[in-house]
C-alpha cells in the first residue's frame, strides 16, 4: 500500500518534470499562431506571423545560412569523425590516455570559452595570412570542431560493439583492405553514421554561442538573427521561427534516435 503511494508520487514527479521541460515550448508554439501582436493575450488563431516570416529577406537568408552551415559542417565532421572513431577502435589496446581526453575535451568545454578561442584563432590567422575572414567558412570550421568528438564516439562505440571476428572473417574471405572498408565496415556502421549525422546537424542548428563568435556580418544564422531581433522586443514572428526550429530539431533528434536504436539491435 505504502509502496504504491510512493510510486504514484514518483509518477506525479515525472509528469511535473515533463511539464516543466515542455510547457515553455508549447507556449511559444501557441503564441506563434496568435492573431494579435501580443505575447500576453491570445486573441485568435492565424498564420499571419508565418506569412510575415516568408516575406522577410533577413530571416530567409539566416535560415539558408543555418542550413548550409549545418549540412556542410555535419558532412565534414562525419568524414573526419568516422576516421578518428575507427582509429580509436583500431588502437584501443594501446594506452591512449591523454589523447582520449583531448577527444572528449570539446564536449565538456564551455561553449563560450570554445567560441572565444576560435574567434581569437581566426583573427590571428586572418591577420597573418589574409585568409579565413569571419564568415560562413570560419563558422563551418568551428562547428566541425565541436561535432567531431560526437561523431568519433558514436562510430567508436559501434565498432567496439561488433564481434572482432567479423574483421577477421572479412580478411579470411578474400576481402582486400579497400574491399573490407567498402563491403564490410561502411555497411556495418551505416546506422551509426546516420545517427551521428543527425546529431551533428541538430547540434549545429542549435548552436548560438560558438556561431556568434565566429560569424561575419553576412553570415548570421537563425539563432543569431533571433538574438538580434529580440533586442527590439519579442514579436510573434520570433515565436514562429522558434516553432519551426523546434520542429526541425525534433525531427533530426528523432531520426538520430531511430538510427541509434536500430544500431543497438
Amino acid at each position: 500500500m505504502k509502496k504504491r503511494t510512493l510510486q504514484r508520487g514518483l509518477g506525479v514527479f515525472w509528469w511535473l518534470t515533463l511539464v516543466f521541460l515542455y510547457l515553455p515550448l508549447v507556449v511559444v508554439m501557441v503564441f506563434s499562431f496568435n492573431s494579435a501582436n501580443s505575447a500576453a493575450h491570445f486573441t485568435g488563431i492565424s498564420l499571419r506571423w508565418y506569412r510575415r516570416l516568408l516575406g522577410n529577406e533577413e530571416i530567409l537568408s539566416a535560415f539558408a545560412n543555418s542550413m548550409v552551415l549545418a549540412i556542410t559542417s555535419s558532412v565534414i565532421a562525419l568524414v573526419i569523425g568516422c576516421l578518428i572513431g575507427y582509429g580509436m577502435y583500431r588502437h584501443r589496446h594501446r594506452k591512449l590516455g591523454w589523447l582520449i581526453v583531448l577527444i572528449y575535451l570539446p564536449i565538456v568545454l564551455p561553449d563560450i570559452v570554445f567560441g572565444i578561442s576560435e574567434m581569437t584563432f581566426f583573427v590571428q590567422i586572418h591577420r597573418l595570412t589574409g585568409i579565413l575572414q569571419p564568415g560562413i567558412e570560419t563558422m563551418i570550421i568551428a562547428h566541425v570542431t565541436f561535432q567531431i568528438p560526437f561523431v568519433a564516439l558514436i562510430v567508436y562505440s559501434r565498432f567496439v560493439g561488433l564481434d572482432p571476428s567479423l574483421f577477421e572473417a572479412a580478411k579470411d574471405l578474400y576481402a582486400s583492405p579497400w574491399q573490407r572498408a567498402l563491403h564490410f565496415m561502411l555497411p556495418t556502421i551505416k546506422p551509426a553514421l546516420l545517427s551521428a549525422f543527425f546529431l551533428s546537424f541538430t547540434l549545429s542548428i542549435d548552436d548560438f554561442v560558438i556561431s556568434f563568435f565566429t560569424a561575419g556580418p553576412e553570415s548570421a544564422t537563425l539563432p543569431i538573427y533571433i538574438w538580434g531581433a529580440i533586442k527590439k522586443g519579442v514579436s510573434p514572428e520570433i515565436n514562429a521561427i522558434a516553432t519551426l526550429m523546434i520542429g526541425a530539431v525534433a525531427i533530426a533528434a528523432v531520426l538520430s534516435l531511430i538510427f541509434s536504436y536500430r544500431r543497438q539491435r
Binding site: D163, S165, L166, E168, A169, A170, K171, D172, L173, Y174, A175, S176, W178, Q179, L182, H183, F184, P187, T188, K190, R265
Partner: protein
C-alpha cells in the same frame, strides 16, 4: 561439390570489386598438405604462445589441434589463417611458402568460434561474400550458393535473416560460407563449443562426413578430447606452446607419451613408478608384471592403467597381475558401471561394461585381474 571454374571472369566482373588477385589456389578439388617448421610466437614480453612447433599435416586429413586453453592451439590456427604472424618459422601449404602471404590472398578459410556472420548481410549474401570479394560474377555466385545450400542441406535457411538463426543454424551457415570458396585448407576454431550436447554430437558426425566426401584438409581446434577422438584422423596434443604428441586417436589415447597427455585424454589411473626393471614396476599398488615388449627407455615416470582393461572378481587368469581392492563407490552409467576402488590405500578406477553381470556392492572386497600387456609406461 561439382567442379567449376573459379578463375575470375574479367569481362563480367561486378563494379566495385578489386582486380583479380593472385590467390594461392591450385586445383580447387585437390586438398593441400601443410608443413610447419620452427614456429615461434610470443605475445608481449612474457606470454609464449608457440615455442617451436614442427608439424606436417597430410593432404585430405582431418587433423585436430587439442589442448587446454592457453596451450597455443588457437594461435597456431590463426597463423595458418594469416590472422597472426609468427615471430619465427615458416609455413607451407602444398608446395608454396605462405609465411608472408596476407590472409586475403591465402586459399584458406576459417569457421570462427563465434561464427562471425556479417549482420548487415542476408544469409545468401553471407554465403556469397568470399566469392564476391574474389570477383566471381553474379551468375556463378548464384549457382554456387544453390550448390552449397544443397550440399549442406540448408533448405530455406538461405532466405532467412542472420539475426533470426539459432546457434546450430549459424554454425551451418558459417561452415557453408567457408566451404563455398573451396579452399585448399579449412580451419575450424572450436565451432561446436557453443552448441548443446545433442546438437554437437550430430554435427560432429556431419562434419566428419562432409570432410570425407570433399576430401578437403580440415584443421580443427578443440579442448574436448572426446570430440577430437570421434572426429579426427590424427590429433596433435599441445601444451605450453609445444606439441606433446601427434598420433591417431587410438595411439594418443592408448599410448600417451607423457603424464600431461595421459591426464588430458582423461586418464585417472596414473601411478608414480618407484622402481622398475625390464618386466616389472613398483608403484603404490605394489609390484606389477609388465609385458617386456612394452618397456621404454625411461626408468622413472608413470604407470598408466586404463580402467576398462581391469577385470573385477572371478579367477585371475595365468600370467595376469592380481590385486585386491575394496569398492568405495559405484556409479551406474547404464551402458557401463564405474567403480572407485581402494588398493593398498590408493584409489584405482575400474569400468565394466554392463552385461548383466552381478554388480559389486560398496565395501565388497574384490580381486582385480590386470593383464601385463595393458599396462603402459608413461614419461613424466
Amino acid at each position: 561439390m561439382t567442379p567449376s571454374t573459379m578463375a575470375p571472369d574479367t569481362g563480367t566482373r561486378e563494379p566495385g570489386t578489386a582486380q583479380a588477385r593472385d590467390i594461392d589456389r591450385r586445383d580447387v578439388r585437390q586438398a593441400s598438405s601443410i608443413d610447419l617448421r620452427g614456429l615461434h610466437k610470443r605475445f608481449g614480453k612474457t606470454t609464449i604462445a608457440l615455442d617451436g612447433v614442427d608439424l606436417t599435416i597430410e593432404a585430405g586429413e582431418f587433423f585436430t589441434l587439442l589442448g587446454p586453453s592457453g596451450c597455443g592451439k588457437t594461435t597456431l590456427l590463426r597463423i595458418l589463417a594469416g590472422l597472426e604472424e609468427p615471430d619465427a618459422g615458416s609455413l607451407r601449404i602444398g608446395d608454396r611458402d605462405i609465411t608472408d602471404t596476407p590472409p586475403h590472398k591465402r586459399s584458406v578459410n576459417t569457421v570462427f568460434q563465434s561464427y562471425a556472420l556479417f549482420p548487415h548481410l542476408s544469409v545468401r549474401d553471407n554465403l556469397a561474400f568470399g566469392l564476391r570479394m574474389q570477383g566471381i560474377p553474379l551468375e556463378q555466385r548464384k549457382a554456387k550458393v544453390a550448390e552449397i545450400a544443397d550440399f549442406i542441406q540448408l533448405g530455406d535457411l538461405v532466405e532467412r535473416r542472420v539475426d533470426r538463426l539459432s546457434g546450430g543454424q549459424r554454425q551451418r551457415i558459417a561452415l557453408a560460407r567457408a566451404l563455398i570458396c573451396e579452399p585448399n585448407v579449412l580451419l575450424l576454431d572450436e565451432p561446436l563449443s557453443a552448441l548443446d550436447a545433442g546438437l554437437r554430437g550430430q554435427l560432429q558426425v556431419e562434419l566428419q562426413r562432409i570432410q570425407k566426401r570433399l576430401g578437403m584438409t580440415f584443421v580443427f581446434v578443440t579442448h574436448d578430447q572426446d570430440e577430437a577422438m570421434v572426429m579426427s584422423d590424427r590429433i596433435a596434443v599441445l601444451d605450453s606452446g609445444i606439441i606433446q604428441q601427434v598420433g591417431t586417436p587410438s595411439e594418443v589415447y592408448e599410448h600417451p607419451v607423457n603424464a600431461f597427455v595421459a591426464r588430458f585424454m582423461g586418464h585417472d589411473n596414473l601411478f608414480a613408478i618407484q622402481r622398475s626393471a625390464d618386466n616389472w614396476v613398483d608403484t603404490d599398488l605394489g609390484r606389477l608384471q609388465l609385458d617386456p615388449a612394452q618397456q621404454r627407455s625411461e626408468q622413472q615416470g608413470w604407470l598408466l592403467i586404463r580402467p576398462e582393461t581391469l577385470e573385477l572378481g572371478g579367477d585371475v587368469p595365468a600370467g595376469y597381475n592380481r590385486l585386491e581392492g575394496i569398492v568405495k563407490e559405484r556409479l551406474y552409467r547404464g551402458s557401463r558401471i564405474e567403480y572407485r576402488l581402494e588398493v593398498n590405500g590408493v584409489t584405482l578406477m575400474a569400468v565394466a561394461s554392463n552385461l548383466g553381470q552381478r554388480l559389486h556392492a560398496v565395501d565388497d572386497r574384490v580381486t582385480i585381474s590386470v593383464c601385463p600387456e595393458d599396462l603402459v609406461r608413461v614419461a613424466a
